[in-house]
């Protein structure tokens, strides 16, 4: 009886141990398989064993936007958008023209919204053919992606949604004929910046604002996108510009205020047109070398432009008469003249003015006929 009980106990303990072992293995297995399916690798890689050489990266599930370069050069000139064309012919999309223009807005990412640091993906690499795809409702189909992308701008400025804005009609299938006045042309004429723009404003004390456009480009080294931000074709081509709501006071002044916030109204507003800025009017006409410089090369950055100490040493701190080579001015002094002090010829220290030979030489010679050295070509 006792022995039988012991046997039964042995049997039970064996069964229990086996069961426990099985359970343990099962749990481990479950944990492992769960780990395998939820592996973060599969979020980005398509193959199970990616290597540095072949990372097999997924192309479309990149939730983060990456700001790409603005230059259009790596892209194709023309792409064909026509995987879905039926009623209308393919769209010949002038990629280069668009890429050139988006420099005024936000660059390539205006369209290539999943731009990566590498080669930009074409639209069809992510967008499929199925509308209302239940697996990804937020992603429009390729057809809708094209239409949304193009129409978001073209509709706004041409106020037209005709299919033939982009599509060529299919003869026999499409009833409409192509309108030759359509805005899409093979190339855009070169844009020349205006010299000066005169604005008539409602400001009573100074209704005229003279904006020297070219001067701003030359003097301050500005590029178009420095001032023209968030511009699109509509800003020039909008046929219904008049119906646009009037800009607020702040909006009108916003561009100028980027730099001129500290200046008063009279900086721009006047009762008559303002002349271009002339450095000579400040009492120092700029010579050949100084006129090539940006304002900020002499006037300190971050400060209001003010009158400077006009002595040479103020900027050319290492300069002294001993190490000055007169040849940089285009005149290599001969032996006699190079012995003289500067002020012997440049009386009153006015170095921008050519000295008068008759101050020393009574024979009435001029520096044109008999220069005090060898004339060089200035680069």
């Amino acid at each position: 009886m006792h022995r039988e009980k012991k046997d039964r106990f042995k049997f039970f303990s064996l069964v229990v141990t086996l069961l426990l072992l099985l359970a343990l293995v099962g749990v481990r297995q479950a944990a492992f398989s769960q780990n395998a399916t939820k592996s973060p690798c599969s979020d980005c890689h398509v193959c199970p064993w990616p290597t540095a050489k072949e990372p097999c990266l997924k192309s479309c599930t990149r939730p983060e936007k990456v700001q790409g370069p603005i230059s259009a050069h790596p892209g194709p000139d023309v792409t064909i958008l026509g995987q879905l064309a039926d009623m209308y012919q393919l769209v010949r999309f002038n990629h280069k023209l668009h890429a050139d223009m988006v420099g005024m807005e936000q660059g390539c990412t205006v369209c290539h919204h999943y731009a990566t640091s590498g080669k930009y993906l074409s639209c069809r690499e992510c967008h499929g053919k199925k509308p209302s795809n239940p697996e990804n409702l937020r992603q429009p189909s390729l057809k809708a992606a094209y239409h949304r992308q193009c129409l978001s701008c073209h509709r706004e400025w041409s106020h037209q949604t005709r299919c033939t804005l982009c599509h060529l009609p299919v003869p026999g299938k499409t009833a409409v004929t192509l309108d030759s006045t359509d805005i899409i042309r093979p190339s855009h004429p070169a844009i020349t910046p205006p010299q000066t723009k005169i604005f008539n404003t409602p400001y009573e004390l100074g209704p005229i604002v003279t904006f020297h456009h070219q001067e701003h480009i030359d003097r301050f080294g500005l590029s178009c996108a420095n001032c023209h931000q968030k511009e699109n074709c509509g800003n020039c081509h909008d046929i219904q510009k008049a119906v646009r709501p009037a800009k607020s006071m702040e909006e009108v002044h916003a561009v100028c205020n980027n730099c001129h916030r500290q200046d008063g109204c009279n900086k721009c507003h006047d009762t008559k047109e303002k002349p271009k800025f002339s450095h000579a009017a400040t009492g120092w006409p700029l010579n050949t070398y100084h006129s090539k410089l940006d304002c900020r090369a002499c006037h300190p950055t971050g400060k209001k432009i003010a009158r400077l100490d006009s002595s040479c040493k103020n900027c050319h701190s290492g300069w002294n008469p001993g190490n000055f080579k007169h040849a940089v001015t285009g005149l290599k002094l001969d032996e006699i003249h190079s012995q003289l002090d500067c002020v012997n010829c440049h009386t009153e220290r006015n170095y921008s003015q050519t000295p008068n030979c008759s101050d020393c030489h009574a024979d009435g010679r001029s520096h044109i006929d008999s220069p005090p050295g060898e004339r060089l070509k200035i680069k």
């Binding site: 057809k143 129409l151 106020h159 709501p245």
Partner: protein
Amino acid sequence: MGNINRRTFLKFSVIAATLGAAPSAKSQENFSGWPERYGMLTDTTLCIGLNCRKCEEACKKVNNLSRKNLNLSDNSVFEHKRRTDPENYTVVNRFPNPNKPETPYYVKKQCMHCDEPACASACLVKAFKKTPEGPVIYNKDVCIGCRYCMVACPFGIPSYDYFDAYTPQVRKCTMCYDRIQQGKIPACAEICPQEAITFGKRKDLIALARERIRSHPERYHPHIFGEEEAGGTSWLYLTGLDSVQLGFPNALAKTAYPELTRGFLSAVPLVLTIWPVLLVGLYKFSQSRQVKESPESTQNSVEESHAGSNGKPDN
């Protein structure tokens, strides 16, 4: 006396039966719609309207409606507000955009496929049915042509086809119920070149709409029209303006319209079953007192009164 006891038992059993039925009505009240039902999301900021109206064309095609008066390049239709009619289950109307006059809003109008449709509630013969898939469908075979549905609809959608004298019927969008059953998506959602209309599970569409509002707050009015209006509709709208400025009905109730009459209507069966029994019971009670006073007439009066009240043999 034994008779009266039996009557009391009957009375209580009827009351118990009606009370027993009440919890089932209660549970229906808590039903918040079929969880997997489909819906449509119209993003009015994407619709281009002008020169398009492809949804109207596709709708006519799949529903075999007359395309005689359809001229897609005629943009003068936007000059006045149109409504749905027997030939047009859906129409696109134009509304001015005060913030950007050059891009007005275009709003597609069709049946909203309410979660608890007022038309179905008003219908005497159950010609309207809310399907588990989402669409509210109409059965012309049982329709008696009372047009209560047209009065009941808070969106003014159902229209009546008068033109066929023998088979007049109510016409409205079906949300392409037969196409959904075939695994296709509604025709308007399929044709839309901008995919301004998205078809999907209603709960997914609400999530999608919320995401769009969150990521483009400058583009959208922060409200999903149809999420709660009229107790929730299968057709949802994202708008750039307040819905009233886009021609949607003003001051829509957040509760379902059938809810407004449910209290009253659910009391009707109770009144019909309890009151006669109760009143007869009271009458009998008062009679029985008279019987005590004159015992010889008891048997006759009980039989008479019972036969008069419900016509059943008293046994």
